[in-house]
Amino acid sequence: MSQQFLPDNPLPQEVRVPDEMAVFSPEVEAEIDRHLAKYPLKRSAILPLMFIVQRERAGFLDPPGVAYLANRLGVRIMDIWEVATFYSMINTEPVGMYHLQICRTLSCKILGAGTITEHCTRRLGIKPGETTPDKIFSLSEVECLGSCGTAPMMQIGFDYYENLTTGKVDELIEKCRSGELSNGVR
């Protein structure tokens, strides 16, 4: 279910026992501890921890990050992959610094989501599912994000941008290019 961002390499990443395990700062470790404390079983924290590891490891779960998760949660490497590949927000491939996710479901669609996607494709030179060669932008079409009353919309990282027009999209893209806009990853 997760999107492939390397069109010339459609095979999933090689799954192997990595030689190295990711290491995180004491602050990140403390954040992870706070999540683990919520549950009677450690495994329940798998999704919150995946978001943290993905944020700290350049936007996706790399083998050292996966090894860390397995070790921290006391499960097998394969258990981590099993869950990671199910959820569309967990990246198993690298994504661009700014991940533009445009809602394509009905309410957004009838209010112009198609125009927004086409406009982004033209401006960025990439189709949905692709990343620019400079790794700044990834573009995706995603399913309903609960922003139907303020359609059309897109999400950049975790941040919502609503009531979009092509003009607003241009502004956003400019702000991404100049580094003014947060990439919404947290």
């Binding site: 199910f86 009905l106 139907c148 975790f158 919502y160």
Partner: protein, 440 residues
Amino acid sequence: MFIGAIGCEPLQLRRVNLENSRSIETYRKNGGYEALRKVLDRMSPDVVIGEVKKSALRGRGGAGFPTGMKWGFVPKDSPKPKYVVCNADESEPGTFKDRYLMERDPHMLIEGMLIAAYALGSKATYIYTRGEYRYLIEIMDRAIEEARAAGLAGDKILGTEFSCEIYTHTGAGAYICGEETALLNSLEGLRGHPRMKPPFPAVAGLYGCPTVVNNVETLTAVPDIIKMGGEAWQKLGTEKSGGTKVWSVSGHVNRPGVYELPMGYEDMEKFIMEDCGGIPNGRQLKAVIPGGSSVYIMPASDIVGKKVKMDYEGLVAAGSMVGSGGFIVMDDTVDIFESTKNLTEFYKHESCGWCTPCREGTDWLVKVFKRIARGEGRPDDAQLLLDIVDNIEGKSFCPLGDAASWPIQSAIKKFPEDFKRHLLPLTNGKESGKEGLPTI
């Protein structure tokens, strides 16, 4: 975007337009946490469940199951811990009410969860929020901290013997996790596949313990039910559909938004044409999906002049369902074939892959839709779609299969012209048109 009540005093939306509506001070100044006080001071858990039963509150997530009955299924003598889980995985296309309830009035949800936890004997509760709503998790976390600092969450709440923790949890982009047993699997750190029922979560849910899973709007209704009394709250609505309901309205309307209406609001046409400001750009109303994308689509002819009552029974009588209360309004520029294709692609993307009818069926449906959209529709393709749907509906492991089927069934039945237009004509009993059509 409009947020407010029409035809009744706002209950769920009482505070949403106030300044600093998120803060605990605003909440308490406007009647907040009075219900919790009342429950802890002078109501036994059984009395609380009794009030919820009297209120005729039905689950607001989509299925409409009576909430009091659901709470009543939790075994009292079980030695296991009990859990209350709030389903904030709002992902049904066209639905965004829970988002605004949590964004504008997070303490109302906390109070509802604490009352539910008290009634069910639960000491730990989870709010399962969809991963995309990260900012709402941050809002809820801050509100929980405020409540804890005020002695309203954690140990010995309001100085009583009642202790309860509220935790937030994040999903990660899977529609199926709105199905309660898939949600529980996800919360246990597994893939979000639905579980076999029975046993129902009330008996064996989270970590195999008795669990109640309730939608956000269901839980936020609870404080008012306690304050007003179940009967008085029920009387705001109809006999079988008590209270008020929060609807999300999107699509081709002049005033999209979140609307609180009394259950049994008298006329859907009036609601769309007057309350929601009518159809923009001088266009005509063509169709409405009234309960989130999974319910039957209604043509304008079933709404205009028909006085469709907006409650569980009224919408069933009119040929659709309340579902999650997500109105998608479409004007006469929309091709219902295209809109149905769009939703079918949604269900294909979100099918979890656990059972064959849904996994394979939704994939086949999309293949047929795409072929028709390429201009290669065969005369009997509408029938083919119905045949595939017939092999999904009622035969899938969880209701996602039904949800994928109903939009197609109703669209072909109510808008046959929109489908026929895309299909090649039948000539001399044979298909006309292109040679060597690809087999799909």
